[in-house]
Symmetry: C2
Subunit: 589 residues, 2 copies
Amino acid sequence: MFLHRAASQVAAPVSVNQPSMRRSTPESQQGPEPCNRAESGDRRMSAATQTCGRPLCCPANRTTGQRRSVGPCQHQWEHRRPARSARLPPSCATGQAGPSAAAHMASVAAAVSADAAALQELVEDAVVWASQHGLLVGAGLAEPSCATVHAPLALLPVPYPRETFLRAKAAALAFNAMIDAVAQDEEYLTTVLAAAAQEDLFTARLLQVFRETAAERHARREQEGVLAVLRSDYMLHAPTNSLLQVELNTIASSFGCLSTLVARMHAYLLGRLGASEAELAALPTHNAMDNIVDAMGAAVAEYCSAAGCSNGEAVMVMVVQPGERNAYDQQWLQTRLWERHGVCTLRRSLAQLVAEGELGPDGTLTVGGRRVALVYFRAGYTPDDYPGEAEWGARALVERCDAFKCPSVAYQLAGAKKIQQDLARPGVVERYAASSVDAQLLRSFFAGLWGLEDLAGSPETQAVVDDAIAHPERYVLKPQREGGGNNYYGNALRDKLAAARAAGGAGLGAYILMQRIQPPVNRSIMVRLGQAAEADTLSELGVYSTFVRRGGRVLLSAEAGTLVRTKAATSDEGGVASGYAVLDSPLLV
Amino acid sequence: MFLHRAASQVAAPVSVNQPSMRRSTPESQQGPEPCNRAESGDRRMSAATQTCGRPLCCPANRTTGQRRSVGPCQHQWEHRRPARSARLPPSCATGQAGPSAAAHMASVAAAVSADAAALQELVEDAVVWASQHGLLVGAGLAEPSCATVHAPLALLPVPYPRETFLRAKAAALAFNAMIDAVAQDEEYLTTVLAAAAQEDLFTARLLQVFRETAAERHARREQEGVLAVLRSDYMLHAPTNSLLQVELNTIASSFGCLSTLVARMHAYLLGRLGASEAELAALPTHNAMDNIVDAMGAAVAEYCSAAGCSNGEAVMVMVVQPGERNAYDQQWLQTRLWERHGVCTLRRSLAQLVAEGELGPDGTLTVGGRRVALVYFRAGYTPDDYPGEAEWGARALVERCDAFKCPSVAYQLAGAKKIQQDLARPGVVERYAASSVDAQLLRSFFAGLWGLEDLAGSPETQAVVDDAIAHPERYVLKPQREGGGNNYYGNALRDKLAAARAAGGAGLGAYILMQRIQPPVNRSIMVRLGQAAEADTLSELGVYSTFVRRGGRVLLSAEAGTLVRTKAATSDEGGVASGYAVLDSPLLV
């Protein structure tokens, strides 16, 4: 907390460029959280001068201390009204500093935050390091179109409870095994998603592809090539001090590479602030980038082994959205896949894939004459990616071929919100988990989840809908959509549910109702386009896992790294500038 | 040569993404250089479609086969009329391929060059790799000012004769010793530069600082802290197949870091084209970045050792031009100096330095309370950097302090063109070289150099000026300026010399006349802002060397890496777009 907290009570400013001063801030000077934090934060930021040639402080990003009503989220995030002191470490909150590395680093960071010149230097260090090390996104300019800027990032890592973090990582293999079992149960997928497909054309169309390609799939079942790159997303639920799953991504799990770089950047910046080796040990290292790439490499090697070709002959096709050229998170995978496994990547949109791809009579897929060992989707998860029949044709083409798929349609369906909700019903996850111990572990992360297809007939569903209408702040209403921006919160949720109830419960088959997670609030300095802005923030933890299976043989199942995204705790009403997320990493406390 | 050559005679296109095809181009298909190369090159480039969202081919950069008159150069380069076949490797030129790795890579590269799709993929690979690995320059945009783009680069390394390359590297220590001896001979510097100072205010002002700080310097002679980061620049002289020195940089030798990255990028790209380990061995590895940083670290460690402080307590001040924020070549030094030696860097303009710097009675310099162990100049080499007395005050402040200097005023003066010319006079370099063997080696790189201060009185000078007026294409007229753009060529040179001769030889004391180097011409694909353009090019080799001395103790003298810059062989008349240089690396043949 303190890392992101206003530090007006810390007297001695610490120089960024003077590691020898790193213990010069007496820990006893750390006081309890000031009640006027937002105001003092504003004052400090106004005093900041320049970074990247522009003011440090973006007024639009300041927190005013006033909470506005919570509106629909443009990102895939849980919102809540902040409960700011929830996660304050005891050693800091009491003013009695313990020996914790995180507590010491927090005090240093707080001092930097209070010193405009030191803050400016640290922001510049962050921007330069990010640009030097490929922690980039496209600048989105027409000219030059190849211009890049650093990815939006948290200046310093966010304190995160160590035990909870480790527990989430430890659950990765259980999720791998469970979702793989779900994906192999075609009857379960089609049955559970039938109601959603009635109201959601996208789900219906995916099921149609699934049905139309069944013959080829069943004929190849013993040789099915599966690569899963999952990311299970969690938020801390402050009222019960538990970690709850937001969702499990089975397609296009992103940010593995940039997240790897952010963790390295935070280690660098804490080093600049004078962190000792022991203190840096509170930053968990991970290498999601290479772990994901190694899973891809394993899939290609397995394909080539069976096909009698070399790694260099077969390629990975990365399915991308048209025109996307600056996706550095994706391109790092390409670079590392080449460097570590000698495998080339072809970036193709769905439309390009159907135009260039050729399916041989033996199920081999070639693109431009190159044999495809693996198709990796970074597109195809939203209806927008399928503007016409050509794109659906590409999807079916991939389903029919003998390449490894990441993901298959089955895996994509297994990640549907409706499946997430159904798995939470009594006895369901227990059918798919590898063991009862696994099932218990998985269930411990499940938030309250309710299906709405039986609103007319189920007293239980009616009761929860009644409660949601009475207390909309306790729930989120989610349609079958990926990519965020489609959820209902607050009054919109209440109105939607009330209208559906009045209409006899119709039209909600594609929705699930989910308990609203109430994460603790931190104080963060977010850096975007070279500008720093301090704000109250919420953080979401993602845990990557990789899985490779050929027919009945599991070749790889591994936890593969983590992601922390942090966003302003305020609503999105102020627009993107006040609502954006930044890449972050955890400092374990 | 073939690497950069039009490849219209190579029949089989080689796929970038198919390493297994790397030997699919029969070497016997390589024919002699076609006489219509420029035209076929144009055709090929026109067929190229898109990279980075824009056409591969920049028409402004095409060579037309027509040579225009050679005008003043905006860069620090020697121009000549191209003699294009001069450096064609015999094994390629005859069509009888030898076993050379370079020859094979050349044929592959030529094939890529002829295949628009393969070329586009390779350009994208280059742009992505460069952006991922910090091979960047600022995009120069007002908004966002922190946006970056890849540095201008040659897509593939330029063939370079191995023996010549190794000879240039082997001369580094001899240049180190020689220039250090020159810099310590104050009487020599002031005497030789007296005539230039009469006509050149900048030289005069540097000499004034030198004079005014003599007392402090002499008092500290036994403890003088010297860091030299030199770069000796060379071009091949085709008519004699020799390597001639263009100049020796003693201040702000740039591109060490980006050059390190370009060599790595070329290794990556050749790997993508299917180069074997043996073939990649033709790319000399170097690490100018870390070698320069290690010399800085050694200087700081020596300072701190004597001063009784730790590396973490003392800082390096990097003197930069005001407003320069995106100098990634500089910032890599900062990042690596921190990572390898725990030394912080303060970036300061001369004006900031004089405002913030405090000189203690014992000669210690502090900036913002931080003790300065080393002042490293990446500015201060041009009159533009000294708009007022404040900046000159900063220069004197540094001269007076006890920090290591890179460079001192003496070192800067030792790099003056007038000194370069004087050293070439019979017997002079022999006085400063460490041995007669060294002197012979150094002299072997000297081009013809003539001073003009005695035009009125010396028949020899009159004879060379007469020859230059008759054959201006054989000479370059250079004033005492760094940074390029001030040289006289061709008709401008003839007119300037004729006018001076008519005026009785007055006004030329600050100029030197230099033999015009006639380098061989290559064919290169230059990539800038994501766009590729093929052109006839000239290349310049730079060899970095580092040197650390404390009083009479030499702590370090080392060759530190190389730089190759390549530019269009055509004149600058078409503007920056047709005349820019790109970063390159050598492929040894």
